[in-house]
Subunit: 217 residues, 2 copies
């Protein structure tokens, strides 16, 4: 199926020709590959992310699937240094890199999207949080950004710091910015360890299980 499937017939022919026979999925794969890269995230902190960009990313999530279509997720955007400074110390970064104290000032995220559950709409999010987060990060990569999902956060402190009403529950924090880090996705080695690691050149390595290991039937 070619990219052209989303275009008019005339455009299809042109685009198909341009793609030299490559299927769009290959580009998606590249996209996902790139998405996988800026997982941990240190950034060019001085490259700002616009409010409008964050709104566009949430709009992608808005149009995605939701359990029973209840749409119980709400979002808080942060793109200004003052608000960012409130959020940064309350989220966990790269817990498996114990020797790393970063990201350091100047390499911190330039923006955040906080995903909340509106408990007046639903008591749990099911798969909705992951659907929204993946959609947002995919869109972010598309915009030349990278990011990280932070499940680890000091949630009570964040509720207070941002004056979030008690009816909301923080689900996930997404950090965003222009990625500075180099990341390599590779196979899990014979020791079976999946922990990510950094080499001496500060390249971030992410070992992924094989397709054979994860398809069980």
């Amino acid at each position: 199926m070619f990219l052209g499937n989303f275009l008019t017939d005339t455009e299809t022919v042109a685009v198909a020709a341009c793609f030299f026979g490559k299927q769009r999925l290959e580009y998606l794969l590249e996209l996902f590959g790139i998405y996988a890269r800026p997982r941990i995230g240190y950034f060019y902190q001085d490259v700002p992310v616009k409010k409008e960009t964050l709104r566009e990313l949430v709009d992608l999530a808005r149009n995605s699937a939701s359990a029973s279509n209840r749409q119980a997720l709400k979002f808080i955007l942060s793109w200004e240094p003052e608000k960012n400074a409130k959020i940064f110390p309350l989220i966990g970064f790269a817990a498996q890199l114990r020797d790393w104290g970063g990201p350091f000032d100047g390499e911190r995220p330039a923006a955040y999207i906080i995903i909340l559950l509106d408990t007046e709409i639903a008591k749990q999010t099911g798969a909705d949080t992951g659907i929204a987060a993946q959609t947002i990060l995919l869109g972010a990569v598309e915009k030349g950004l990278g990011g990280c999902m932070h499940g680890s956060a000091k949630k009570p402190e964040m509720m207070q710091a941002l004056n979030i009403p008690a009816k909301y529950e923080i689900q996930l924090v997404i950090s965003l910015g222009k990625p500075k880090e180099q990341v390599v996705v590779e196979k899990v080695g014979p020791d079976g360890k999946t922990a990510y690691w950094r080499d001496e050149k500060q390249v971030h390595h992410v070992p992924k299980r094989s397709l054979e290991e994860i398809i069980i039937g």
Copy 2:
């Protein structure tokens, strides 16, 4: 940012020209839009989905983010009518369409991907299930397929019917096939109701909250 960012410089020029200045994100938006459509799913059941296609979809999920990179999700594929027939009666379809008894024989999914948690690796999936499911469905749309995430399933019966070892927990079932249904994403009306519905022409309507309603700060 143009699609061309993932191509060589020569390809970039050609593709950028073909796209008439459209940004790739616009195509992603269309893609997500299309993805949102075949949400409920009745299908051209006689159009098969190949095993290799399902493997490619899982491979997209495999390369995506995972909490602490533990990769505790495992997958079962089904593309043969016999196995499909075991799965179909054990999943819930469109609970909000109470008068609909379908999808009926001939319009049922042609394939399934069952997402499991390997409890020997992790005790919960966090956002991983949603990340994987969204990734798979996005890839499916790319391949001219559509699908639905089924959180509602008779899980003990499915464990038994498919001889799934007890260390796995069923998280979500994704049905797949060539979509037959017409779906429209629209605004939530003044009554605030988000339940999806079908009109007399069997067009499926999915009301989505506005961006203003879901961005709270």
